[in-house]
């Protein structure tokens, strides 16, 4: 565009500016005046998407620490989709729940900035800064409903454990710098591949600490403890946002750091990550079976999905890398849509997120029940949905890398997960509504539109995935 260092930063700048505009609008709004503040965000994200499209295939580098390569841009697009859907779902949910709209949208947008930065950063310190930008915003979003004790508790837990893991991450950076003398990924990578360092305890410690940091953010077992509480306590749409956006950004950075920079050590970390993946898939699904709260159940399910993504990371062949990107997209759209349904059905006084609240939904709101069913089937990996193609892609990567055992654990856990997804379907379609539960609320139109978009995307990715698959393969080809 301008052929300056700023090029690579334009998508982030677009979102930042609209975030600032959102805050400004909120500050100058009359006390009872209602403004469609969310539209600012949509405009900013649209601008970012447009800028991203112009930057495609250009590998723009910004100040040596941000690179808008195709990999980063693909993730940026996914994040833009996540952000746009979140804002659309939030439109009336925010008013209903009495959340201050200006703060809320600004925080969502700032965290998206952090996420995009994390996906495009090529310096460990910048990745850390991005991690903090997005984390701080998300901590606040978790507790955005200040009158809710559960939300406050969730935010506090999330914050404490998050700070703890940031320390691990930072420590890992310090050790890496101590060995390689740089925080630039490229410099570290060339240093590591030039020297035979595989027995150096410092670098192994560094890799291990960074792994812990990332594992916390993607809530891999055993670093998942915060997830169920934080996901249950936060408002449903925030949960949807952080279970997708944070995971996407963290996985992008994880992939970039571990598959390019620490590639020479893959024999050291791959078995470790393989075990993490297995534990994450198993624990996420097995504990998910026992949940009666839908948000908590989806929290465990999202842990399990993190496990599937880790399988892609372990099977780090050409298939696996593209599979991660495709899976991130499929998972984000699906999971966000599922949380969107929960958010739309919530009430001012009651979240309506217990499993029994969904009893007989088919009779009262047939469209919502059908759309939720599509989301759940996609999460369970049944054709013809995006989730099926995603899982198929991940497992074919695992099989072609020789990790049959991981693939078998993966498919068996997805059968178990189908069991708990089906419990929701059973409730919606086959159970009768309990007396005394409040009737479902009216569904906001913008939220319904977002849901339709998501469902169309899920089915499109499930039936005609070729274009996006090629797109993912192409974006991975440029850097690894």
């Amino acid at each position: 565009m301008f052929n300056t260092d700023l090029d690579a930063l334009i998508p982030m700048l677009c979102v930042t500016l609209t975030a600032l505009a959102t805050m400004g609008t909120e500050a100058f709004r009359g006390r009872s005046e209602r403004l469609p503040i969310g539209w600012w965000g949509l405009i900013g994200l649209g601008g970012a998407a447009f800028a991203g499209a112009l930057l495609w295939n250009r590998n723009a580098v910004g100040y040596g620490v941000i690179v808008a390569d195709n990999f980063g841009l693909f993730v940026t697009f996914v994040l833009i989709v996540v952000g746009a859907l979140t804002i659309m779902f939030s439109s009336q949910v925010v008013d209903r729940d009495g959340i201050p709209a200006g703060d809320y949208y600004a925080l969502v947008l700032f965290s998206i900035v952090g996420m995009i930065m994390m996906a495009t950063a090529t310096d460990l310190l910048v990745i850390f800064v991005a991690l903090e930008i997005l984390s701080l915003a998300v901590y606040v979003l978790t507790g955005v409903r200040r009158d809710s004790p559960k939300g406050t508790e969730a935010a506090f837990k999330y914050f404490l454990l998050g700070a703890f893991s940031s320390a691990f991450f930072l420590y890992g950076i310090a050790f890496t710098y101590g060995v390689a003398g740089s925080t630039r990924l490229e410099a570290i990578g060339s240093f590591l591949s030039a020297q035979a360092l595989s027995n150096n305890p410092m670098i192994l410690l560094a890799v291990g600490l960074l792994l812990v940091g990332f594992a916390f953010k993607i809530s891999a077992v055993p670093f998942h403890m915060w997830t169920p509480d934080a996901y249950e306590g936060a408002p449903a749409i925030v949960t949807g946002f952080m279970s997708t956006g944070v995971k996407v950004a963290a996985f992008a950075a994880f992939t970039r750091v571990f598959l390019s920079t620490f590639e020479p050590f893959s024999t050291e970390w791959a078995p470790l990550v393989a075990w993490l993946a297995a534990a994450t898939m198993i624990l996420g699904t097995v504990v998910g079976v026992a949940q009666s709260n839908l948000k908590r159940m989806l929290a465990y399910s999202s842990i399990a999905h993190g496990g599937y993504l880790l399988v892609g990371l372990v099977a780090a062949n050409s298939v696996g890398k593209a599979a991660i990107l495709f899976y991130l997209l499929a998972y984000s759209v699906t999971n966000l849509a599922a949380f969107g349904v929960i958010a739309l059905l919530g009430g001012r006084d009651r979240d309506n997120d217990e499993l029994r609240d969904y009893a007989g939904l088919w009779h009262t709101r047939p469209a919502l029940a059908a759309l939720m069913t599509v989301c759940l089937l996609s999460l369970g990996g049944l054709p013809p949905t995006a989730g099926f193609i995603g899982k198929w892609y991940i497992f074919s990567a695992a099989v072609s890398a020789g990790y049959y055992w991981l693939a078998i654990i993966g498919v068996l856990t997805s059968v178990v997960s189908v069991f708990f997804y089906l419990r929701v379907v059973v409730m919606m379609y086959m159970a009768d509504r309990e007396a005394g539960l409040p009737a479902p609320v009216t569904v906001p139109r913008l939220g319904m539109a977002a849901l339709m978009v998501a469902i169309v995307a899920i089915v499109y990715l499930g039936v005609l995935p070729t274009r996006v698959l090629d797109f993912a393969a192409e974006s991975i080809a440029t850097i690894f």
């Binding site: 089937l377 049944l382 054709p383 013809p384 099926f388 198929w392 497992f395 074919s396 099989v399 072609s400 049959y404 693939a407 078998i408 498919v411 068996l412 997805s414 059968v415 189908v418 069991f419 089906l422 379907v425 059973v426 379609y429 086959m430 159970a431 995935p465 070729t466 698959l469 090629d470 393969a473």
Partner: protein, 542 residues
């Protein structure tokens, strides 16, 4: 193949697309208060009949002399992985497709009065199910096959879970999880196959015909075969994987049971014939005796358990376990008679068990119970229903002149040529099937009316006639003119046997060689055998 006007028509694609499009269109018919139920029923019936007509056209234009896949359509779908939309029919799948399209209108008719709430959704699910089932039978790409295979579970799950009887939710979830647990391991094996293909040739492929020619190490074959066989064994269901079946069959609404017994079970046996055996011939030869033993156990076990069932639907469900055991035995024999008998028995079982569930459903609609002890002496109350039930019962037993006989006869003939010991067990099953079916028939229809509630039961209604007559007629036609159905499948069966038999690597060790030799054993000509069957059928039919 002379197609004439149909040259440019993707007939095969239409056969599954018509029901699917019908289902999608139905979704948009507003019917919140149920005021359009009638129209929706007629519309879905019309769609399913149109689809049946299409499959008849396929049969009409099918070249029975060819063993090749016909009506082949191929469009790249996910080129990066060599995945194509690749479909075709051979003699084995042709008739199964016809059977599917034949049973769907009957299933819809059977639910005309039984299903009163959410009629639109019911019809949508039935039509979607039909599309997926046809898709399973015509796929020549393993990926496509798996998509249809899994997609089919969703409508069936809803059919059982929403419109079923008291234990429906448990039965629906059990059905879904059982089937999925089997099929996901098959998914791994499919991925493994594609990977082996890429190792051998440099590119991924899910093309069944290409994968047939792949040389696979015996050890790998063994694992992959087990993964495939498990998926299909659960679907068949082969003893001891049958425990989902009684629940699903008994709890499903009549239409669901008809389709479940009529078509879904055949997917398991079809899978063995189409995929598991020809893809992994060495492993298949190794495991065939074991599978055959399970099949024979299933034949006898299913029959014995059926005998003591107090519930008619459960009795019919267990009889399916027994009958499907025959099919698996025929497949394991892997000679032309065995395969032809197996496929014939699949069709016959679809017709006769579909018919049994249909009529049991009619009784249950009238009395809201299916316990045998609740009935008795119905012959004097409803003579027409009794006549229809008698025909179907005899067909199911394997009475010569009706459809069940031909399949069982051929299967036993094939099994005898392979290893006569299995036939002893299977023969016992034939006798037992007569015991449990006739005993049930006697208790329900003969004697005097013992229960006052049965005195005023209405006989067959016109709509029920429409459902029962095609099944009875088909049972007779298939019994009297078996060659009509055997002829198109003969070249394909021969080719299959050659494919599985000839690709055995010759082993040095004794035991294996013996088995392989048995596999290779083929009749020089099958024609005399077939005419033998024909004569036998004609002779005893009179």
């Amino acid at each position: 193949m002379g197609f004439g006007v149909w040259d440019l028509t993707p007939l095969l694609t239409l056969s599954w697309l018509v029901p699917l499009v019908g289902a999608i269109l139905l979704l948009f018919v507003p019917n919140r208060d149920g005021s359009r139920n009638g129209a929706i029923r007629w519309l879905s019936l019309a769609v399913s009949i149109a689809s049946f007509a299409l499959t008849l056209l396929l049969w009409w234009y099918f070249d029975p002399a060819s063993a090749e896949f016909q009506f082949v359509e191929r469009v790249p779908w996910i080129p990066a992985f060599g995945i194509d939309y690749y479909i075709g029919l051979d003699g084995i799948s042709l008739l199964l497709v016809v059977l599917t399209a034949f049973l769907t209108p009957i299933a819809l008719l059977s639910s005309w009065e039984g299903i009163e709430h959410k009629v639109k959704e019911f019809c949508v699910f039935i039509l979607a199910l039909e599309a997926a089932m046809i898709g399973v039978f015509i796929s020549l790409d393993l990926f496509l096959f798996y998509v249809f295979w899994d997609a089919m579970l969703i409508p069936m799950y809803f059919l059982i879970g929403i419109w079923g009887y008291d234990q429906r939710i448990y039965a629906a979830i059990k059905f879904m999880l059982y089937t999925m647990a089997g099929s996901v391991l098959m998914l791994i094996a499919i991925l493994g196959l594609a990977y082996l293909h890429s190792e051998a040739t440099g590119s991924y492929s899910f093309d069944l015909l290409k994968l047939y020619t792949l040389q696979i190490a015996p050890e790998t074959q063994r694992w992959f075969f087990l993964a495939f066989a498990l998926a299909f064994a659960i679907k068949v269901p082969l003893f001891p994987f049958h425990t989902w079946l009684p629940d699903a069959h008994v709890q499903a609404p009549t239409a669901g049971s008809v389709i479940l017994a009529g078509v879904l079970l055949k997917m398991g046996t079809y899978g063995l014939v189409r995929f598991a055996f020809p893809l992994f011939p060495t492993a298949a030869a190794e495991f065939a005796p074991w599978i055959a033993i399970l099949a024979v156990i299933g034949i006898i076990y299913g029959a014995l358990v059926a005998m003591v069932q107090p519930d008619m639907k459960k009795l019919v469900a267990y009889s399916s376990v027994s009958h499907l055991g025959f099919v698996v035995l025929g497949i394991c024999a892997m000679n032309v008679q065995g395969i032809q008998g197996a496929v014939y028995q699949m069709l016959a079982h679809g017709v006769s068990t579909g018919g049994l569930f249909l009529i049991v459903g009619m009784l249950s609609d009238r009395r809201h119970t299916r316990l045998i002890t609740e009935f008795g002496g119905l012959k004097s109350v409803m003579p027409r229903l009794t006549a229809a039930f008698l025909i179907i019962t005899l067909a199911s037993i394997g009475m010569p002149g009706l459809n069940g006989f031909v399949g069982e006869f051929l299967i036993m003939l094939g099994a005898f040529r392979w290893d006569p010991r299995y036939v002893v067990g299977a023969g016992l099953g034939v006798i037992l099937s007569a015991v449990y079916m006739l005993w049930m028939f006697q208790r329900v229809f003969y004697g005097s009316v013992t229960n006052a509630k049965n005195e005023a039961l209405p006989d067959l209604r016109p709509r029920e006639w429409a459902a029962a007559i095609p099944l009875c007629a088909m049972a007779i036609v298939m019994g009297v003119f078996p060659v009509l159905f055997l002829k198109p499948m003969e070249p394909s069966a021969k080719k299959l046997v050659e494919q599985v038999g000839f690709s055995q690597p010759v082993r040095v060790d004794n035991g294996r060689e013996m088995q392989n030799a048995k596999f290779k054993m083929q009749t020089p000509s099958t024609a005399p055998q077939l005419s033998g069957v024909r004569n036998a059928v004609h002779a005893s039919g009179r």
